[in-house]
Amino acid sequence: MRRRQRSRLKGKIVARYLVPLGIFLVLVVFLGVGLGLNPRQVPSPLIDRPAPTFDLPQLHATDKRISPEALRGQVWLLNVWASWCVSCRQEHPVLVDLAKSGVVPIYGLNYKDQREEALRWLQQWGDPYKLSVMDPKGMTGIDYGVYGVPETYVIDKTGVIRYKQIGPLTPEILRDTILPLVKKLNA
């Protein structure tokens, strides 16, 4: 009789306390993971796919055009920027430093910008780009799935996108993610 009571008591404790506690813990884990996720970081379907092609006029020499095919054989960064973009200003020193180090060439996609303003912006803050191309209507931006300038793509020697950074580059992202990847792709 006593044993029956005890097991019944145990069942009661499980049902009344442990089950809700378990459900609560599962919720905590889900919410905790959810907090750590950044909803703005939408995985790009372009990763490990060939970089969309374009044929755009260069910002400095508008009579010359360039397409990504001309950059085959090297690892390079494509940085989407605009003079009206506030976060671009924030990431700019990181790009300038990177360009100075000469580890990897940076090409700019000047997105939905005015040429004069873009030129003035580069003059004022420094030009880290091998060259920039102009995408005034944002059509190439759409091809690259751009939705939050600045964005940065790491493109390998065969012209395949290997990484996409949405939002400004920071020294940490550069050190922990991009530079090791560039090193690996160059090896």
């Binding site: 909803p39 790009s44 379907p45």
Partner: protein, 157 residues
């Protein structure tokens, strides 16, 4: 005083609203085309303001994408072709109603599984409570006692 002024201002702006809205010029001369643009735009998420479709959003990108939808419709592309074009660039997330795939299965089936689990737990709980032995033991004994008292047998003993 300030509050009243503010309220008056709000009221004033509310009255001014429709007047300016009426001056907005139509986006397209072709209402049928525009209706299809909107219909497809309603299926596409604006990635800048993620809880809006590109039909609702006034973000630059949403306007660009709506124009893209319009251009492609003019080129005679089908709705499916346009949706594919967007998914190719922005991923499945751009679909406001995600397609049923292995990756999105939890999204589609999950709520129903949870509901079924909840119903099952509720039914079990209710059934167990109804035939809870301890309650029955006690109440039966007390019922017997009560009926004994009421019938007056207690007194005769």
């Amino acid at each position: 005083m300030h509050k009243i002024l503010l309220m008056l201002l709000c009221l004033a702006s509310w009255y001014a609203g429709p007047a300016t809205a009426a001056e907005a010029k139509p986006v397209s001369e072709d209402p049928a085309l525009e209706q299809r643009v909107m219909q497809i735009s309603n299926e596409l998420r604006c990635l800048v303001c993620q809880n809006q479709t590109i039909a609702d959003s006034h973000a630059e990108l949403a306007i660009d994408l709506r124009n893209q939808v319009r251009d492609q419709l003019k080129q005679g592309k089908s709705e499916q072709e346009i949706l594919d074009y967007m998914v190719q660039r922005y991923g499945d997330f751009v679909r406001y109603r995600p397609p049923v795939k292995l990756q999105t299965l939890v999204l589609w089936v999950g709520p129903f599984l949870l509901l079924a689990g909840g119903l099952f737990a509720l039914l079990r709980f209710l059934r167990r409570r109804r035939q809870s032995p301890e309650l029955n033991d006690v109440s039966q004994a007390r019922l017997d006692e009560a009926s004994r008292i009421l019938s007056g047998k207690e007194n005769r003993q």
